[in-house]
Each structure stands twice: as structure tokens, then as C-alpha cells.
């Protein structure tokens, strides 16, 4: 049975049961052992696969070599016949026959290696899939357990401490009220500042024409006019 199906079934039972039995201790051990076994067979299969693939390549090379040898000796046999060396041609024919025997054997071995490669690759794929599946199952099972056990601890703990995990609406209202209070406080502070804080004092000083923010341009202009009148009509500055 898939682990998600199992979790769905368990979700219909009590919370306490879920925390304890998504995957019981025994099943957990079995899963873990299966993961270990699958990982082990993956390693072995990888080693075997490399070996068999190497042998496959070797036999392919050997087949190629034998074919060339057959061709070479056949050419030599023809040459022997051309020169009427009947017996020599017979000897060469025997050599070719032996080479062909060897070639047939190598071809058979090569085919066997190819079959083995396919088989090992299938094995590897299946083992890897098994590991992935088991790991996913364990992850789902363990997470479900953690979540329910944590919730149990939290409920018990807060239950003892006069629970503040109570009504959502009340919580929301309290949080909102606190935010409003903060906003009100900030607005009040700004208002107070405007009425009697530094800002208010600055404004009063400015209104009275005291301080650095008085009409500086006006004062400068008045000074320039006074100077102009003192020195006659000349606008130039010495």
C-alpha cells in the first residue's frame, strides 16, 4: 500500500494514534533495512556492470581481429592454390577453420555480455527506484509523526499554562487593537510635538522673527539699500 494511502487511512483515526503509528518501529526497521539492501545491490550491480561492459568491448575487439585474420589466411590459401601448393592450401584452410571456430565462440560470448548488460541496467534502475520510493515513504511517515507529536506537545504544554491558543477571532482582535493603539500613540506623539514640542517652539520663534529661519533675504536687502543710500547713487560694490 502506498504511504500516502496509509496516511489518509490513519488521518481518519485519532491524533494520538497518528503520532504513534504512521510507521511503527518494526516497519521503520524493515524500511531502513530495505533501503540499505537496495543501496548495497546498487553498488554491486554498478561494479558488475562496469566489468561486463569492459568484457563486451574486449570481445568486440577480438571479433574484429579474428575476422581480419580469417580474411588474411583465406587470401594466403588462394595464393597457395595459385602457385599449386595444394597441401599448403589445405593447412591454411585448417587454420581458417580454427579461427572461425574461435570467432563463433567470441560472437556467442559477446551476445551473452550484451544480454547481461541489459539485465544489470534493469536491476540498477529497479534498485534505485526502490531506494527513492522508500526514502520518500519514510520522509512522509516521519514528517506526519513529527507534526502530530509536536502538536500534542504544544497542546499539552499550552493547556497547562492557561492556553493562549484559544479563539482565533479574539486573538486577531487583540493583535489588531494593539496595532491600533500603537498607531494612535504615534499619531498622538506627532500631535503633541506639533502643539508643544520643539516644532511648536521653533514656529513661535519664527513668528516672532527670532532665530535662524527669519526673513534673511529681507534683512540682506535692507542692508544693501542702507549702504546704497550712504554711498550715494552708485550701485557698485567696492
Amino acid at each position: 500500500m502506498s504511504v500516502i494511502k496509509k496516511v489518509v487511512t490513519l488521518l481518519r483515526s485519532s491524533v494520538r494514534e497518528i503520532g504513534e503509528s504512521v510507521v511503527d518501529a518494526n516497519a521503520t526497521r524493515i524500511y531502513e533495512q530495505e533501503i540499505l539492501d537496495a543501496q548495497h545491490s546498487i553498488e554491486t550491480a554498478r561494479g558488475d556492470l562496469a566489468l561486463v561492459m569492459a568484457k563486451e568491448m574486449q570481445s568486440a575487439r577480438e571479433i574484429e581481429r579474428l575476422k581480419q585474420e580469417v580474411a588474411r589466411y583465406e587470401a594466403l590459401a588462394v595464393e597457395a592454390l595459385d602457385k599449386s601448393h595444394e597441401q599448403l592450401a589445405e593447412d591454411v584452410a585448417a587454420k581458417v577453420a580454427a579461427l572461425e571456430d574461435e570467432l563463433a565462440e567470441q560472437t556467442k560470448a559477446h551476445a551473452a555480455y550484451a544480454v547481461q548488460v541489459v539485465k544489470l541496467k534493469d536491476l540498477l534502475r529497479a534498485a534505485e527506484q526502490r531506494v527513492r520510493e522508500h526514502e520518500r515513504e519514510m520522509a512522509i511517515a516521519r514528517t506526519t509523526e513529527s507534526v502530530y507529536r509536536a502538536t500534542q506537545s504544544i497542546s499539552e504544554n499550552l493547556g497547562q499554562g492557561g492556553s493562549n491558543l484559544l479563539n482565533a477571532r479574539q486573538s486577531l482582535e487583540r493583535i489588531k487593537r494593539r496595532h491600533e493603539e500603537l498607531a494612535d500613540r504615534m499619531a498622538a506623539t506627532a500631535q503633541l510635538d506639533a502643539e508643544c514640542g520643539d516644532a511648536a517652539l521653533e514656529r513661535k520663534l519664527r513668528d516672532a522673527g527670532i532665530g535662524c529661519s527669519v526673513d534673511r533675504q529681507g534683512a540682506v536687502m535692507a542692508r544693501i539699500r542702507a549702504r546704497q543710500q550712504a554711498t550715494g547713487a552708485s550701485p557698485s560694490i567696492e
Binding site: 499539552e156 504544554n157 486577531l172 493583535i175
Partner: protein, 138 residues
């Protein structure tokens, strides 16, 4: 592996910085599995709980329980939560027992900054969801 509360060292400061100079309190909860409660100043009623399984770190915020849902709107709420799920950044709605939760998951070796980021987002999302979905509650 380090105990959870040690792995979470500094998470409170990161959250505090992320959320604008609020004070954050981390409190381990006794029990079979490691759980740490995160209380954020101004949102004390909506704590985040961090737990760790063999495969991931989980942050959870309990929103409301079955008894608080208006019975006649229960189905509509479930539908709304499923539809909302893909849109809520980094968090997922769910149910644990009779409680509706918002959860976020992180890799087992997630650094404190990442956990803090997840907690901050989870807290914002939870508050937002509570506000938006309170029409379904008694």
C-alpha cells in the same frame, strides 16, 4: 545533529531585524519531539512553532480549530483554503487533527537567516489569513 534550539540560535535576532526592531522570544517546548515556540512582540496570540523531523525543519502556526468554523460555511472555507494555497508565498494551509494550520518547510540544514525569513513570512501570512478568513469563524 545539533539540538533544535541550538540550531536556531540567533533566529530571534534575525526575525526581530526582519520585522522592524520587535523583540522575539524563543522557548523550547518539552515533549517527545523537539519543538521551539517563537513569540513575536505584538503578535503574542499567534506564536509560531518550529519542529524538526528526520528530513526537514517545519514551521507551524495554528490558526483556528474546527469548533470555531461556522458549520454552514465549513465546505466553502475548505475550498477557499485550497484555492489560496498556491498563491500564499512560502506557506501552505493545512490541518493537524482538528486544527487549521499554516506551515512552512525548510531543509534540515537551513541556516538561521533562512529559518527567520520563513518564520517572518509565516507570521505575516497567518495574520493576513486570519483577518481575511475571519468571516468563516464564529
Amino acid at each position: 545533529m545539533k539540538p533544535l534550539h541550538e540550531q536556531l540560535r540567533g533566529v530571534d535576532l534575525h526575525i526581530g531585524r526582519l520585522m522592524g526592531a520587535v523583540s522575539v522570544n524563543l522557548q523550547p517546548i518539552p515533549g517527545e519531539v523537539p519543538v521551539v515556540q517563537v513569540s513575536i512582540e505584538g503578535r503574542d496570540e499567534l506564536p509560531i512553532f518550529i519542529t524538526r523531523s528526520d528530513t526537514q525543519i517545519l514551521c507551524m502556526c495554528y490558526l483556528w480549530c474546527d469548533a470555531e468554523v461556522l458549520p454552514e460555511r465549513r465546505h466553502e472555507l475548505a475550498q477557499t483554503l485550497l484555492e489560496l494555497n498556491p498563491s500564499v508565498p512560502l506557506s501552505a494551509f493545512g490541518r493537524i487533527g482538528d486544527r487549521y494550520v499554516l506551515t512552512g518547510a525548510l531543509a534540515l540544514d537551513a541556516p538561521a537567516e533562512q529559518v527567520a525569513q520563513d518564520v517572518a513570512v509565516l507570521s505575516d501570512n497567518a495574520l493576513d489569513a486570519l483577518d481575511a478568513l475571519s468571516e468563516f469563524l464564529v
